[in-house]
């Protein structure tokens, strides 16, 4: 059905909400978003391989570029988890780098524009060979599920299984349980939906925006939107990582954690500012 709608409209604008199947490898359908994911993974792994073998005390150019996101996120995680940041940083950083590179792969020239003819639902359509991984709901949903397992796991680790179940299924004044518990469960599960939909919606809408601008305008004008998408790609990667970190923080803080945590950090910031003002 998406192909029909695309063919009715401008031929330059290709809108397909699900990834197109390129070919079948045995029983597995290889979609174009899988190609995008593969490129993302190969890029990340080769960068990590290079970085782990060629590190110097005084960083070179590439090493400095690679160290920047690590440093940046380590600073943020450390500010919230002074003691456990070494355990929390790796998954958060992995999510950040994966989403960042996946978003940027979508901006490479040729991605989404070079396609092959495939037969889908009985009629012929043009499917791009490479589709950015994060413009496929399967990818973002999988990442959101990983994040869910992470923050539930941290909740169990911090409070024990009994403590976690008690906190999740029994409200603070116990007589409020019938009212609060369904809300609590829905809010926990809606995090998966909101995490995955936010990333998918942003990247997918970005792809459509680029295609529309390419069709409506000419020459160098779409480049401005390409720049905009570069900012959005980084921001969305950061948002996904930061939300995962926040959910982990809330889960690990334990009973009624949200408020205490917020108050603590505010006090801490106030102290920090006071110290800095004093130093001046």
């Amino acid at each position: 059905m998406p192909e029909e709608a695309a063919e009715q409209g401008e031929s330059l604008i290709h809108v397909a909400i699900k990834a197109e199947t390129l070919f079948h490898l045995g029983p597995i359908a290889i979609t174009n978003s899988m190609v995008g994911t593969l490129i993302t993974t190969v890029l990340l792994v080769s960068l990590a391989w290079w970085a782990s073998r060629n590190h110097a005390v005084v960083p070179g150019r590439l090493q400095a570029v690679l160290e920047f996101p690590v440093d940046f996120l380590a600073g943020i995680v450390r500010a919230q988890h002074a003691t456990r940041w070494r355990a929390i940083l790796p998954p958060v950083l992995t999510i950040f780098l994966l989403v960042l590179v996946a978003n940027y792969v979508g901006l490479l020239p040729g991605v989404g524009t070079i396609g092959v003819h495939v037969v889908e639902n009985g009629h012929e359509a043009v499917a791009p060979i490479i589709r950015p991984a994060s413009a496929d709901l399967n990818f973002t949903l999988a990442l959101a599920l990983v994040a869910f397992v992470l923050f539930v796991g941290w909740g169990i680790r911090a409070n024990g299984l009994r403590g976690y179940l008690k906190e999740t299924f029994i409200a603070n004044p116990p007589y409020m349980t019938p009212l609060m518990t369904p809300i609590h469960i829905v809010s926990e599960l809606s995090r998966i939906i909101s995490l995955s939909m936010r990333l998918f919606g942003n990247v997918f809408a970005g792809e459509i925006l680029l295609a529309v601008m390419l069709a409506l305008t000419f020459a160098v004008i779409p480049v401005a939107f390409l720049g905009l998408e570069m900012i959005f790609g980084a921001v969305q990667a950061l948002v996904f990582a930061l939300l995962t970190l926040t959910y982990i923080t809330l889960a690990a803080a334990g009973h009624g954690g949200g408020h205490d945590e917020a108050d603590d950090s505010r006090d801490h910031d106030a102290d920090d500012l006071g110290v800095r003002a004093g130093a001046h």
Partner: protein, 72 residues
């Protein structure tokens, strides 16, 4: 007459109205705070980005609904 495109357009158009106002309010308050106390930029950054992301999620829901109307 097929009104499906109109429905999709209205879904994202009206759905973006609230988050648009919300994002504007958020950014304006953050800029105000930054103007009063430029030193706090580091402490402001994470809650600022998170707040914007959570506000913007509402517009993304509207976008998803619009796409669902258009394609299903």
């Amino acid at each position: 007459m097929d009104l499906t495109p109109l429905a999709a357009g209205l879904a994202i158009g009206l759905g973006a109205l609230g988050p648009g106002i919300g994002l504007g309010l958020g950014v304006s308050k953050a800029m105000e705070a930054l103007g009063r106390n430029p030193e706090a930029s580091g402490a402001l950054f994470v809650p600022y980005v998170l707040g914007l992301a959570l506000t913007e999620a509402v517009a993304i829901y509207a976008l998803v609904i619009g796409l669902l109307i258009l394609f299903t």
